[in-house]
Subunit: 273 residues, 2 copies
């Protein structure tokens, strides 16, 4: 890891979900090289403890440190919720999570002052979104709801039809979105794949906030402020993909998240971590 | 690990599912002490590669080796499907998986000669049930279906109502159970929790086979054949529970699987594995 313009942006996630964040980064910062690590041997993080997720996050950062990385994006909401302080304490480069950028968009866009956030059990239990939203706008009324079945539904490609609709109604239909909530934060990188069905359940008056683009904006700002952004348009752009399990399933499911086929991924040794 | 009557039965699973097997063992062999390890920091195994599941299985056996264990039960179908040869090659004690016992019951009980098996993607892709069933009864017609959403549904306690019914209909409703299948193997330790809804979907003519009791019978037979069964009715019976993540969620969800409250579980160091 080194603070140099030429180096790459490192991104890690528990698996494929963070590819929605990588996609936004590639669109927003086309000159930047990227190294993406999906911890597919230990996915999911959302149902595990903060202690274990922090341990895995440090191991992922350690694996990415072998690459020439100038900034680390924690593309997993659960890891962003629990492991940012530990990562920032250990690493000599800027670390950007997905929670603060998403919370900022939500805090700024709500008119009613009532915001809901959905995420994994780990993210919701951490209270990280609730804290970030209140820090930005203390008067906000924040409703939080864990939606554990959304991750397996998105991973299995069950993103429309009766099952995801009924699951979304169970999580979102009653208490959560009554009484003036006008902004719903999709606090998990898997959830954008379910945004159509979520949108139908919550209705057209509720704006869905996906932190991928907000995070790409934040990365752009940090690179510029730290004078780490690439400026040489002739430099070659590299894309590396690393996984901790065998690559097959990552390549297959990942294409849905990245919105394009993945050329390949290298399996790194689990013992590293 | 040592081959002595006084030692305990070791059981491991990817998480809580194997507690259905432990429950059957406790009922069938009330004099035997048990040590159960749930690899909750890396659950689930069913969507991971055979390579990684074998690595985790060996690590679990290694952790259980620190205890006084005379026989190892691999209570996870996915691990039984891919890791038994590696475990048997490495360990000095008998190793019993859940697939052969379940397959034996199914092969013996089918009248039509048409059997279906459901399990995780890892179990089904391994072909282990298909091979075991054909070895026992070569003329059997075997239908196999992966049901990846059943594990999160069982873990979250969504075991009745519209969502599990629709999911079960999607997996089981059409091709799988037409044409005379009369026996359905529940090839994952989570699935017995969904047996009521599965039973409704497949109808009363299909017998559900749960390998927990068949596995307890097999363990009883092996202990007797190897002269390892406890005979002293006055000896104290110990129950140990180990987990790789923090115990809270294991204790909470595990009670549903064991059918009684769990007194406590000790977290073992991940780095061990």
């Amino acid at each position: 890891m080194r603070r140099e313009r030429h180096a790459a942006i490192g991104v890690f996630d528990s698996g494929v979900g963070g590819l929605t964040v990588l996609k936004a980064l590639m669109e927003r910062l086309p000159l930047e090289s990227t190294v993406y690590l999906g911890d597919t041997a230990r996915v999911p993080y959302g149902t595990k403890s903060g202690e274990v997720v922090t341990q895995y996050s440090l191991a992922n950062a350690h694996a990415l440190a072998e690459y020439d990385v100038k900034l680390l994006v924690v593309a997993c909401n659960t890891a962003s919720a629990v492991a940012l302080p530990a990562l920032r304490a250990k690493l000599p480069i800027p670390v950007v999570g997905v929670i603060e950028p998403g919370a900022k968009v939500a805090a700024e866009s709500s008119r009613t002052g009532k915001v809901a956030v959905i995420g994994t059990p780990g993210t919701i239990a951490s209270g990280a979104y609730q804290k970030a939203l209140h820090a930005l706008r203390p008067s906000l009324e924040v409703h939080a709801q864990a939606c554990p079945l959304f991750v397996p539904l998105a991973e299995e490609g069950w993103v429309d039809g009766d099952v995801p609709r009924l699951v979304a109604e169970e999580y979102l239909g009653r208490e959560l979105l009554t009484g003036g909530v006008d902004t719903l934060v999709l606090g998990c990188t898997h959830y954008p794949l379910l945004s159509q069905v979520i949108h139908k359940v919550v209705g057209p008056r509720v704006t869905l906030v996906d932190s991928a683009h907000a995070t790409a904006d934040e990365v752009t700002r940090v690179l510029r402020d730290e004078e780490l952004n690439r400026t040489d348009v002739r430099a070659s752009v590299e894309r590396h993909f690393l996984v901790t399990d065998t690559p097959n399933r990552f390549l297959e499911v990942g294409a849905r998240f990245l919105g394009r086929p993945l050329s390949g991924a290298r399996q790194i040794d689990l013992k590293l971590a």
